[in-house]
C-alpha cells in the first residue's frame, strides 16, 4: 500500500469537494459537541448526587419571637417543652436516621460561612434573627413524605424545608438539558450521515475516470475505496477536534460558571472532560467511516 499515493488522492478529493467537506466538518463538530455536553451534564449530575446523597436533610425550622410565618402567628417563640416533644416525635419516626438540634448561635455561624462574600447581607443579620431548627437525616432521602407531613403542622414549627425537593428540581432541570442536548446531537448525527453520503457520492462521480481505470488495471477494492473512506475519516477527525475545543470552552464557561451560582456543588474535573472528548471524537470518526463505507458500496462499483 502506497501511503503517499493515497494521501495525495485524499487531498485532491477534499479540495474538490471543499464546500461539502466543510459542511460535514461543521455538522460533526456540532453534533459531537452536543453529545459531549450531554455526557458532561451526566458526569456533573452523577458527581453532584454522590456528593449530596449523604448531606441531604430535612430541616424543621422553629418559631422565634415575632415570627412572620403563618404557623407562628399569634404565639411567641417555641417553648422548651414543645422542643422536647418535637424531638421525641422525630426520634419515634421509623424513617429517621438521626436528628440534631441547631441553635441560633450555630445557625448564625453557618449563615456567616455560606455568605462570607456578601458583607452587606451579613451585617444586616443578627444572631437573634436566625431560627432554631431540628436537622433530620433520613435513612432514605426519597422517603421524606411521612416525616414532612408529621412535622409540617406540629406546634412550634414554622416551616419544613426538604433539601431533596430542591435537589430534585435542580436535577430535573439538568435532566431536561441533557435530553435536549442528546436529541439535537442525534439529529446532527443523522444529518452528518446524509451529508457524508452526499459527499462520497460527489467524490465518486468526480473521480469516476480514476476509479474506472483502477478497476481495469486490477487495483484491489480496498485500494479503490481507501481514499474515499480516508476523506470521511479526516473530515470526522477535524470535526472532532473542533468539538473538543467547544467542549473545553463549555467546561470553562458553562460548567465552571454554573458552579459559582450553586454553593457547595462539585466541580467537573478535566479528566472527566478528557474522557468525554475522547469518546465523542472516536464516535464522530467511526460514524464518518461507517457512513462513507456504506455509501461507497452504493455509488462505487468495484
Amino acid at each position: 500500500m502506497r501511503a503517499n499515493f493515497i494521501f495525495s488522492e485524499v487531498w485532491i478529493g477534499l479540495r474538490r469537494n471543499l464546500t461539502m467537506t466543510i459542511a460535514v466538518i461543521v455538522t460533526v463538530a456540532i453534533g459531537m459537541a452536543l453529545l459531549g455536553i450531554g455526557l458532561m451534564i451526566n458526569a456533573q449530575v452523577g458527581s453532584m448526587s454522590n456528593y449530596w446523597s449523604d448531606k441531604v436533610q430535612l430541616s424543621a425550622f422553629l418559631c422565634k419571637k415575632n415570627d412572620a410565618f403563618e404557623a407562628c402567628k399569634g404565639r411567641g417563640a417555641v417553648s422548651a417543652q414543645e422542643k422536647q416533644q418535637l424531638e421525641a416525635q422525630i426520634k419515634g419516626l421509623p424513617q429517621v436516621d438521626r436528628v440534631f438540634f441547631e441553635d441560633q448561635q450555630k445557625a448564625y455561624e453557618n449563615f456567616k460561612a455560606a455568605y462570607s462574600s456578601n458583607s452587606v447581607f451579613l451585617n444586616a443579620v443578627r444572631v437573634e434573627d436566625m431560627p432554631e431548627s431540628f436537622r433530620v437525616k433520613l435513612k432514605d432521602p426519597n422517603e421524606y413524605k411521612a416525616v414532612y407531613d408529621a412535622l409540617a403542622g406540629a406546634p412550634g414549627v414554622s416551616n419544613v424545608v426538604n433539601d431533596q425537593e430542591l435537589l430534585d428540581k435542580f436535577f430535573g432541570l439538568m435532566e431536561k438539558l441533557r435530553w435536549a442536548a442528546l436529541v439535537v446531537a442525534l439529529i446532527q448525527v443523522f444529518a452528518a450521515i446524509l451529508l457524508i453520503g452526499n459527499t462520497v457520492r460527489l467524490s465518486a462521480y468526480n473521480r469516476r475516470r480514476e476509479t474506472g481505470i483502477m478497476r481495469l488495471v486490477g487495483a484491489s477494492n480496498l485500494y479503490i475505496q481507501m481514499p474515499f473512506v480516508m476523506e470521511g475519516t479526516i473530515a470526522g477527525l477535524i470535526g472532532g477536534v473542533i468539538s473538543a475545543v467547544m467542549l473545553m470552552l463549555a467546561k470553562i464557561v458553562l460548567f465552571d460558571g454554573m458552579n459559582n451560582y450553586f454553593v457547595l456543588s462539585t466541580q467537573l474535573t478535566w479528566s472527566e472532560v478528557a474522557q468525554v472528548i475522547t469518546l465523542t471524537t472516536v464516535i464522530g470518526v467511526v460514524i464518518c467511516i461507517i457512513a462513507s463505507f456504506f455509501t461507497l458500496r452504493r455509488y462505487l462499483r468495484v
Partner: protein
C-alpha cells in the same frame, strides 16, 4: 489462455442473447481479431473475459482460472494479468504520459523503484520516447492511444484486450498502433482485438473470429475481414 465453452449471455430486459452458445479457444501468444457489426457481441465477449459480466450459462476459463469459481475478492488479481485498450483511450487528463502509465502500477501497490525502472521502458516500447512529460491534450489521437497501450502493457499482462483501438484514429496512424500491438504480441502476450476496420484485418493476416447476432459465424486462421470463403 481464453476458453469459452458454450457461453450464453442475455442482458436483463433483453430477449435476444448478446452471446449465443459461443465456444472458442484462444491459445497463449495468439493474435485474434474479433470482427462483426455493432451489437454482434464483441464487447460482451471482452467484458466476460474481464469478469465485468457473468454468463447466463456456459463456462469461461481465463489464464487457467474458471471465472465462475473465481471469488469477487480475486477478480482484481485476474485483471492484473489482463491489459485493456479502448476506443476512447481513457487517460487521466490531469496526469502526464509518465504519470498515466505509472498510475496503473501505483494503484496495485508496486514499489516506486520498480515503477521508475519499467515505465520509461514501456513508454519507449510504444514509441513515445521523449514525450513522457507531455499532457494528454498535447498529444495526437494516435499518441494518446500509445499511452493507453503502454499503460495496459506496463504490468506485463498475459492477455491484452483491445476494443476498437483504432476507432478514433485515421488509417495512416492506425498502422503505427497495429505495429505496437504486434510488438506486444511478439513478447508472448495474447492479443484479442475487436474491430470494424477491414483494412487492418486484411493487412495483418491473423486469426479472425466473426460474430453475428451473438453467434460465431466464422473462425479462420490467417483470415480477412470480408465474407466467409
Amino acid at each position: 489462455m481464453i476458453h469459452f465453452d458454450n457461453v450464453t449471455k442475455v442482458y436483463a430486459n433483453q430477449n435476444r442473447p448478446a452471446l449465443d452458445h459461443v465456444s472458442v479457444d484462444v491459445d497463449k501468444g495468439e493474435f485474434v481479431f474479433l470482427v462483426g457489426p455493432s451489437g454482434s457481441g464483441k464487447s460482451t465477449f471482452l467484458r466476460l473475459v474481464l469478469k465485468e459480466e457473468r454468463p447466463n450459462s456456459g463456462a469461461i476459463h481465463v489464464a487457467g482460472k474458471d471465472l465462475a469459481r473465481l471469488s469477487n475478492f480475486k477478480v482484481p488479481h485476474l485483471r492484473r494479468r489482463i491489459g485493456c485498450v479502448f476506443q476512447d483511450f481513457r487517460l487521466l487528463p490531469n496526469k502526464n504520459v509518465y504519470e498515466n502509465v505509472a498510475f496503473a502500477l501505483e494503484v496495485i501497490g508496486k514499489p516506486r523503484r520498480f515503477i521508475r525502472k519499467v515505465v520509461p521502458e514501456v513508454v519507449e516500447l510504444v514509441g513515445l520516447e521523449g514525450k513522457a512529460h507531455r499532457m494528454p491534450d498535447e498529444l495526437s489521437g494516435g499518441e494518446q492511444q500509445r499511452v493507453a497501450m503502454a499503460r495496459a502493457f506496463v504490468n506485463r499482462p498475459m492477455i491484452l484486450l483491445a476494443d476498437e483501438p483504432t476507432g478514433n484514429i485515421d488509417p495512416a496512424t492506425s498502422i503505427g498502433i497495429m505495429k505496437v500491438l504486434d510488438r506486444i504480441n511478439r513478447t508472448g502476450t495474447t492479443v484479442v482485438m475487436a474491430t470494424h476496420d477491414a483494412a487492418i484485418v486484411d493487412s495483418m493476416r491473423k486469426r479472425v473470429v466473426e460474430l453475428e447476432d451473438g453467434k460465431i459465424v466464422r473462425d479462420q486462421s490467417r483470415g480477412v475481414y470480408g465474407q466467409a470463403y
